[in-house]
Every structure is written in structure tokens, then in C-alpha cells.
């Protein structure tokens, strides 16, 4: 939901968030969206279609793989999972993000 309390997605972090979501279990598109919304306590600040763009591109890069499966309600759905390459990418990006965040926090909270 692109509402008031939406978490604006910093450019490039959507990929990492999706990979994080998929690192628990393979999911289809809407499962990923609801997972992200429940963690962020609101919307992602972007259209749902952007998620599919991100998924298709990551699939092309080999970070995720997709297969057709069947949902609990017997609906045909495309399930995405993280590949080994995607897992390595997620680890590297997580480490980078943590370092960056710590650095920014240090600067902003430093006593003058």
C-alpha cells in the first residue's frame, strides 16, 4: 500500500528483500508480497507489478529459479526459489547493507 505509513523502498533493495523472503521457502508472487507487507507493517511504497519485474530480472540473472506448481487451493502458480548464486548474492548484499547502515548510524548519532 502506497499510503502514509509505507516504507519507501531504497533503489536496489527490493531484490535483496525478495531474496530474503524466498530464503525461507519457495513462494509465488502474492506470497512474497504479503510476506514483505507483514514484515514492513504496511506497504512497500511501490506497485505490485514492480515485484514481478524484479523477479523476472533476477530469474534472468540466475539469482532465482521458477517452476509452475499448484497452490493449496489447486490454482496453477509460478513458484520462485533462490538459487545457490542468489544465496551468495543475498549474503554479500546483506553484509554490505549492515556495514553501510552501521556507518551511517555512527555518523548520525555521534556526539558533537
Amino acid at each position: 500500500m502506497a499510503g502514509r505509513d509505507a516504507l519507501p523502498v531504497v533503489k536496489g533493495t527490493l531484490d535483496v528483500l525478495v531474496l530474503k523472503a524466498l530464503s525461507w521457502t519457495p513462494m509465488h508472487g502474492f506470497e512474497i508480497v504479503t510476506w514483505l507487507e507483514s514484515r514492513s507493517g504496511g506497504g512497500l511504497g511501490l506497485d505490485d507489478s514492480a515485484l514481478y519485474q524484479a523477479l523476472y530480472r533476477m530469474e534472468e540473472r540466475g539469482l532465482v529459479a521458477a517452476d509452475w506448481g499448484v497452490t493449496d487451493n489447486n490454482r496453477r502458480a509460478r513458484y520462485y526459489r533462490v538459487t545457490a548464486k542468489g544465496r551468495r548474492y543475498l549474503e554479500a548484499e546483506t553484509a554490505r547493507w549492515t556495514r553501510y547502515a552501521a556507518l551511517v548510524t555512527d555518523i548520525l548519532t555521534a556526539r558533537l
Binding site: M1, A2, T25, P26, H28, G29, F30, V33, T34, G43, D47, D48, S49, A50, Y52, Q53, Y56, R57, E59, E60, G62, A65, D67, G69, V70, T71, R75, R76, A77, R78, Y79, R81
Partner: protein
């Protein structure tokens, strides 16, 4: 749905765009539906929920288009990645399977590698000799300009009058230059008073080669002007060796043959004179165009001009000269490097090329047989996989991968074999093919070998595999037993390959046999004179350098050289180590004339069919010295009167060709219309140099030197040639007008003549041996395989009391039948193809029956041996085992 840990094996190929689009739409539809459901649960009406779901999705036509485009791109990429992964998968699977079948793999790879290696090595030589351009920019347009006579049998450089006329008038050629290749004694900073290879070049030489000096300048026309200070260039090698590569070398003085020259430039290393076969030159001295007479001449073809057109123009210019009559009997031609190679050498190379081609075919036939057998043994596996749903394409891909792995390995080993083979060939090269030393494995050549490896893999790998699996999978699986008799179709194909192999081997062996027999004949042929420890020594006038005018060249310098040369020979005759000596040249080491020989007939000069004759300078007592008997007439006179009427002794062959059965004594002939008459005073038997087959060598004559012939030569018998050579060099060094003397032995001359045959014979002999081994292996493989597959039948026969001899005859008979068919085909093929060897055969019919019969017998024996082992194995089969094996 596929959960973690489940590995996808095959990706469904989404070939069609609409399928991709449909999938994207499905995904969006599901998303919207689930979102709407979620919103409904939060209390929205179905309509509002759907609208809100759409809004959150950002559902616009543009967004959907964009998603579809991204999905399409993804599919394209993934398909490529899948193919690569599939190929990798196939290659890994194949490599594992081949590693298990170690014997099969080793034989197949080695067989192919031999064929590929031999082909690559020979192709390197062919490429170097017949295809590769000169090592200069656009080297293929450099041509040598020469006079030819006697239908192209002999050729010489043109004189300066014709050369300069060509230079001035030609429209098809440019950048004319002439080059002599004397050696120079160095002085100056070099301690060793050594000689270095030098070149006497007209100023346009560097432009002809498109070579820029690395330092200083090239020669200018002014460098050869009368009275100009003598200048020289050196090559980069000498520059680094003698001057440590210092740039102040320009302007320094270098002593060449004792005369100071100013260094004006440094040429790059490796300056070989086109088509000379001599080592790269290290010093260069300018030569004026006027004195470039009878010096090898070169030019460049203008863009788009073929040598043939240039030759025609050169001839036309020469015929149009004011004194064209002088050149009436001379032809002219412009030839490229690859046309200069001798006919016999070119023939040798072509024969070798054909031989390795046959060798590769034999190797391929062997591998095809192996693959066929393997395909047959794996037909159950294939049938099972077909039944399980593997597509034909998939199976074909795997067979293809197997062929690729085999040929890839064979290619790698083959290149190694080629490298070794090439170095062996270079080591064995005859002096007539001396420039083989520069042959390297080149990219073009490697491409060739990779190409033939792939072709052989595709042609001989996949075809049998396809043949082997034409049977319906159900039949194969039902027929069950692993060892039931092989399919008739595949058996016939394998038989065909064996027939082909035997046929090709026969052709090759017959060719090799003919060459060996011819060579033995050549070597056994007597020379016709006593050549024991015989050498010819010739004093050489010092090479002239530095833009000298023709008058001075022919003047006092030459007279001095003649006098000093005579002095040298006189001293050498009594030098230590010389056991006997006599004035004259080696028989056959003489001069010849252009144009056909004329006889003095009843109605004046009459041209004859004899195109050229070879005149050797001799002296009274010469024939006695060489133990050549006089057949008729008398010995030579001690001096020939100047201007004609000279008395000559001629060989039997020439006498017969000029006058038939008439006694030639007292009759006159001349080499051509320009030459003086020679009166025959005696007849001697012909001398024979093995390998010297050109017509000119068959027409022999001997005369006493005339005044203008200079110092003449000396025949020396010695058992210590090194001592005599060093004495001659020492004597020459003391004479200011002389250069290093020339010394040649009969053995060297004979070796030179025989070398191309020796070379071709050695190589073809090796190829023939390899072909024989490969054919034997192929025959053995097929027969042994057939026996294995008839184990059950043979077992039953033996169990039912069949005579073991009969069973072995059965097995041997199969091999012999194939061999007989191969022999028939091979004999016919050999009869046609040995004609190509005619130029290399000496006094031997290309259809020599002895060779044909002997080789056929050899192949029959080989077959019997190849069939014997499987036959024995067949007899040892225990009937019980044979029946239980099912």
C-alpha cells in the same frame, strides 16, 4: 509444486511468444484474485476489492506490456543457458562413459590422432611451400623476373639491358629491384675475420619488400653514382652483435672485404632474399641498375595483375627491343615464390599430401568401425532410453558429444604428433627443400587439423551411430540376448569400411613399394667415373661492391683474379693431403646454352631436337684421371684455339641424339646460333648422377677451357678434405683479388640429387607402415568382433561336433573375403594413382608387377594374421559357457 531440494532436470522449452505471454497473464490474474480475496476479507465489496487490487498492482496496459517484454527476454536468455548446460551435461556424461571404455577410447583416439597428426605436419609443409606468401607485406605480389630457355627447363636472370627495358616500359609491374647474394669479409670492430651473408641490391630493393630501415635510411639512387662514397647498410642482428645496438652506428665506417663503407642505415633482422633459399642477409651494399646484369631480378605485380599477364608483357617488351634478335631464343617469365619450387619437389609434396589423406581416411574407417561396434553393443541402452522417452534429437546429441570428445582428444594429441613429426621432417629435409627449416605450425594449419578432426568425427561418428539404432526399440528389447548375431545392415557397413581400408592401404603400400624399388635402382646405378674421394675446387673472384661500373668489373680486376686463381690451383695441386689432382670440373658441373643445339648439316646450320647440352670444362688426361674410357676418337687438345673450331669430346647419348648411328668424329655442332662451332674429336660413355633427370644432364660434352673462362677448376683426390679446404682458404686469403674458394664433393652432388627421393621415400615408407598397422588393427577388430557375436553359434556348432578346422576356416574365410574384395578395389585404385608417381620413379614402370604382387601378398598375410587370433579364440570357446552366457 517443486519444493527445495528438488532439482529440475529439463526445462520446458517455451518456444512460442504467446505461451510466454499467457503465463505472464496467468500470474497477474492469480495475483489480482488473491489480493481481491484478501481485501474482501478486510470488508470491501467484491467490486471495490478488485478495483483496489488493480490499483495496487499498478495495472495499466503499459505495465503489462513491460512485464511481458521482460519475461520474453528472460526466456531467450534462459534457453541459451540451458543449451550450454545441456551440452556440458552431454560432454560430462560422454567423458565418463568413454573413461569406462578405456580400450575403445585409447584405440579410437590414437588412431585418429595419428591421421590428424600426419595430416597437420604435411599440411604445414604444403602450406609453407605452395601456399604461404613471402614474409613481407603483401608478399604474394612479389615476383622474380627471369629468362627461360629449353621449354622452361633452365632459367637465368636477365641482363641489364633487358632488365632496364622492363623497368622502363612495364605497366603490369612496379618496384623493380635486382639482388646479388655475395658473402663479405668483415673488418672494423669485429675481431673475427669472418664472412657474413651480404646482398648487393639496387636502390629500390627495400621499397620492393616494403621494408623500412629500423635506423637511418635505405639506399638512394645517388649512392650508386660514379664517384659516390661507398655506403652500406647492416641488419639489426649485426647491429646488436657488433655495435651493441648503439644509434651512433650511422656514419661509422665498416670494412667489407677490406674496403671502407659508411653505414647509412640498419635493416630489420631476417632479411631473406625472395626465392633464394639462402640465409637472411646481414650487410647490404648498393648496386647500380646499369651493372645489374645477370643478377636475380624482382618486381611487384600491380594490383589485380596475374603473373601470366606480366610474363606476356615482359616477353613483348623484350621482343620489341632494337636488338631483339639477340634474345630470339629466350623466353621471359614473372614467377611467384610458390611457382619457383622445382617440379619434382612439388610432385613430392603432392604425393605426400595424397598419402596422408589416405592415411586419415584409413584412420577414420577404423574409428567408424569401432563406433559401429560400440553402437551395436549399446543398442539396448539406446532402445531403453528411447522407450523411456528420450527423443531422437537427444540421443543424437549424445552420440555427437561422444564424437566431439573423441575427436577433441585426438586433435590435441594429433597436434603433438604433428609437432614432433614436423621436427623430424625438418631434420631429414633434403637440401633442395632447405627452406623447410622455416616451417612452423601456423594458425591456418591448426585450423585445418581441427577442421578435419571435426569432419571425421561428424562423418564417421554419427553416421554409424544412426545406422546402428534404426531398429525399433521394442524389437531390440524383446530380442534380449546381448550376443545375438549382429544386424545384417550394420555388419555390411562394417565390412564396407574394412574393404575400404584394405583398398587404401594397398594403394599406399604399392606407392611406397614403387618408391623404394626406384630408389634402390637409383643408388645402385654406377656413376660412370671414379668418384672416390673426389672434390672440385674453384677459386672465386672477390665479390664486387659499391656501385662499380661494368668496365671496371670486367677489366683489370678479373685479369688479376684469373692470374691469382691459377696460382692458387697450382699451389693446391702439390699441397699436403692431395693424393692426385687434375685440371677440370666434375663431370656435369658445366655450362649450357639457351636455344636448341644446331648441327653443321650439308646445307648449313640445322636446328635439332636437342634443346640443350651441358659442357664441362676438362683438359687432356681428364678421362684417364676419372677412369672414363674413350669409346672412339682421341683425347682433348691441350688448348682450344680462340674463336671456334674447338675440339670437344661428347657423351654417347648426345652423339646418338644428334647424329643417330653415324660416327660423330669430325662433325660439328654448336649450343645455339650465338655459340661457336665445336668439332667432335672423341666419344665417351655418359656419366650418370642419380636424381639429375632434366634433359640437359643427358646431353654431355667436354671441352678445354678457352681464354675467357678464367682460372678454371681443379679436381682433387684427397682423404683429408678439411685439410685441403683450409689450405685453399689460406691460399685464397693471401691473394687480394680472390674471395673464399668453392669446394664440392661428388658425394655432395649425388646427395643433392637424391635427397628429394630419399625424403619422399622415408616419409611415404613411414606412412605406409602406419597404414598397414591401422588396416591390420581394423581387420582384427572387425573379425574379432564378429567372432564374439557368434560365440553362441560357434558354441552350438562345436557342441554338435563340428570339426574345429571347419570352424576356424569359417572365421578366417570371413576375413579373407573382405580382404579379397579390398585387394581388387585397391589394385584398380593403385593402377590409376601410381601414375602420379611417374615423375619420381627412375626407370620403373608405375605398374611394376613385382611391386603389385608383393604388396598384395603382404596384405593377404597380414589379414591371415589378423584373423588368426580371433579364430583361435573361437575354437577355445567352451560350448557350455557359450550357451550359458545368455
Amino acid at each position: 509444486m517443486i519444493r527445495p531440494g528438488v532439482k529440475r532436470v529439463f526445462r520446458l522449452a517455451l518456444r512460442r511468444r504467446d505461451v510466454v505471454h499467457e503465463n505472464v497473464e496467468d500470474e497477474i490474474a492469480l495475483h489480482l484474485e488473491l489480493r481481491a480475496k484478501q481485501l474482501e476479507a478486510q470488508g470491501l465489496t467484491p467490486d471495490d476489492a478488485l478495483r483496489e487490487a488493480r490499483r495496487r498492482f499498478g495495472d495499466t496496459p503499459a505495465a503489462r506490456r513491460s512485464l511481458r517484454a521482460t519475461a520474453e527476454q528472460r526466456e531467450r536468455r534462459l534457453r541459451i543457458a540451458d543449451r550450454i548446460e545441456g551440452l556440458w551435461h552431454d560432454l560430462r556424461l560422454t567423458s565418463r562413459q568413454l573413461a569406462k571404455a578405456r580400450g575403445f577410447t585409447a584405440i579410437a583416439v590414437l588412431t585418429l590422432a595419428l591421421g590428424i597428426g600426419a595430416n597437420t605436419a604435411i599440411f604445414s609443409v604444403v602450406h609453407h611451400l605452395l601456399i604461404a606468401p613471402l614474409p613481407y607485406p603483401d608478399g604474394n605480389s612479389i615476383v622474380q623476373l627471369r629468362w627461360t630457355g629449353s621449354g622452361g627447363q633452365i632459367s637465368t636472370p636477365p641482363d641489364s639491358e633487358v632488365f632496364n627495358a622492363w623497368r622502363a616500359q612495364s605497366k603490369t609491374l612496379e618496384d623493380f629491384a635486382a639482388v646479388g647474394e655475395p658473402w663479405y669479409r668483415l673488418g672494423d670492430t669485429l675481431q673475427r675475420a669472418d664472412s657474413v651473408p651480404g646482398a648487393l641490391v639496387t636502390p629500390g630493393f627495400f621499397r620492393l619488400l616494403r621494408v623500412e630501415p629500423v635506423l637511418g635510411r635505405a639506399f638512394l639512387p645517388g649512392d650508386t653514382a660514379r664517384g659516390a662514397a661507398p655506403v652500406a647498410m647492416i641488419d639489426a642482428g649485426l647491429w646488436h652483435r657488433a655495435y651493441a645496438g648503439r644509434s651512433d652506428v650511422i656514419g661509422r665506417t665498416i670494412l667489407l672485404n677490406g674496403r671502407p663503407h659508411t653505414i647509412v642505415g640498419v635493416a630489420p633482422r631476417g632479411m631473406v632474399i625472395p626465392m633464394s633459399g639462402e640465409p637472411p642477409r646481414e650487410v647490404f651494399v648498393p648496386l647500380s641498375l646499369d651493372s645489374a646484369s645477370n643478377v636475380p631480378a624482382f618486381a611487384r605485380l600491380r594490383a589485380g595483375v596475374q603473373p601470366r599477364r606480366a610474363s606476356a608483357e615482359l616477353l613483348a617488351i623484350m621482343r620489341g627491343l632494337p636488338d631483339a634478335a639477340k634474345y630470339k631464343r629466350i623466353d621471359a617469365e614473372a614467377v611467384r615464390a610458390q611457382d619457383v619450387i622445382g617440379v619434382r619437389e612439388a610432385q613430392t609434396v603432392k604425393v605426400l599430401f595424397a598419402a596422408v589423406g589416405a592415411l586419415l581416411l584409413i584412420a577414420c574407417a577404423n574409428v567408424a568401425n569401432l563406433l559401429l561396434a560400440r553402437g551395436w553393443m549399446r543398442r539396448r541402452e539406446m532402445a531403453l532410453r528411447t522407450a523411456l522417452g528420450a527423443t531422437r534429437v537427444r540421443l543424437f546429441r549424445q552420440v555427437l558429444a561422444e564424437s566431439l570428445v573423441l575427436s577433441g582428444a585426438a586433435c590435441a594429441i594429433g597436434i603433438g604428433i604433428a609437432w614432433v613429426g614436423l621436427h623430424v621432417m625438418i631434420a631429414l629435409r633434403p637440401s633442395a627443400l632447405d627452406n623447410l627449416a622455416a616451417v612452423r605450425l601456423q594458425p591456418a594449419v591448426l585450423l585445418w587439423s581441427v577442421g578435419i578432426a571435426l569432419l571425421s568425427a561428424l562423418g564417421f561418428g554419427t553416421a554409424p551411430a544412426l545406422l546402428a539404432r534404426t531398429a525399433a526399440p521394442g524389437d531390440v528389447l524383446r530380442s534380449g540376448s546381448r550376443t545375438s548375431a549382429g544386424g545384417w545392415a550394420s555388419g555390411r557397413v562394417r565390412g564396407l569400411f574394412v574393404v575400404l581400408e584394405v583398398g587404401l592401404s594397398l594403394v599406399m603400400l604399392v606407392g611406397a613399394g614403387l618408391l623404394v624399388r626406384s630408389f634402390v635402382r637409383l643408388e645402385r646405378q654406377p656413376l660412370g667415373f671414379d668418384a672416390a674421394r673426389l672434390y672440385e675446387v674453384a677459386p672465386m673472384p672477390r665479390p664486387v661492391g659499391g656501385g662499380r661500373s661494368p668496365e671496371r668489373r670486367g677489366g683489370s680486376g678479373q685479369r688479376a683474379a684469373t692470374a691469382q686463381g691459377r696460382e692458387l690451383l697450382a699451389r693446391l695441386a702439390s699441397a699436403p693431403g692431395v693424393t692426385a689432382s687434375h685440371p677440370g670440373s666434375l663431370p656435369g658441373n658445366g655450362y649450357w646454352g639457351f636455344g636448341s643445339v644446331e648441327v653443321d648439316g650439308s646445307s648449313g646450320p640445322t636446328p635439332t631436337d636437342v634443346k640443350s647440352a651441358l659442357v664441362t670444362l676438362a683438359s687432356p688426361g681428364y678421362f684417364h684421371f676419372l677412369k672414363i674410357p674413350l669409346l672412339a676418337g682421341r683425347d682433348l687438345d691441350s688448348a682450344t684455339a680462340a674463336g671456334g673450331g674447338a675440339g670437344v669430346v661428347i657423351g654417347e647419348g648426345l652423339a646418338h641424339r644428334l647424329w643417330g648411328r653415324r660416327s660423330p668424329l669430325g662433325l660439328r655442332f654448336r649450343l645455339n646460333a650465338k655459340q661457336p662451332w665445336l668439332t667432335v674429336v672423341g666419344v665417351v660413355p655418359d656419366v650418370h648422377y642419380p636424381g639429375y633427370t632434366a634433359e640437359v644432364y643427358q646431353n654431355q660434352a667436354y671441352e678445354t677451357p678457352r681464354a675467357e673462362d678464367g682460372a678454371g677448376n681443379l679436381l682433387v683426390r684427397t682423404s683429408d678434405s678439411a685439410l685441403v679446404a683450409s689450405t685453399a682458404r689460406r691460399l685464397a686469403a693471401a691473394e687480394p683479388a680472390l674471395g673464399a674458394p668453392y669446394m664440392v664433393s661428388v658425394a655432395e652432388a649425388v646427395e643433392y640429387g637424391l635427397a628429394p627421393e630419399r625424403f619422399a621415400m622415408a616419409l611415404i615408407g613411414v606412412f605406409a607402415l602406419v597404414a598397414l598397422v591401422l588396416s591390420a588393427v581394423g581387420l582384427y577388430g572387425v573379425i574379432a568382433y564378429a567372432v564374439t557375436h557368434r560365440t553362441r553359434e560357434i558354441g552350438i556348432r562345436v557342441a554338435l561336433g563340428a570339426d574345429p578346422a571347419k570352424v576356424s576356416r569359417l572365421v578366417l574365410g570371413e576375413g579373407l573375403r573382405l580382404t579379397a574384395l579390398g585387394l581388387v578395389i585397391g589394385l584398380v585404385g593403385a593402377a590409376f594413382s601410381t601414375r602420379a608417381l611417374e615423375a619420381l620413379l627412375f626407370g620403373l614402370n608405375p605398374l611394376d608387377p613385382v611391386t603389385f604382387v608383393a604388396i598384395a601378398a603382404l596384405l593377404v598375410v597380414t589379414t591371415l594374421l589378423a584373423a588368426y587370433v580371433p579364430a583361435r579364440r573361437a575354437l577355445r570357446i567352451d560350448p557350455i559357457d557359450a550357451l550359458r552366457a545368455e
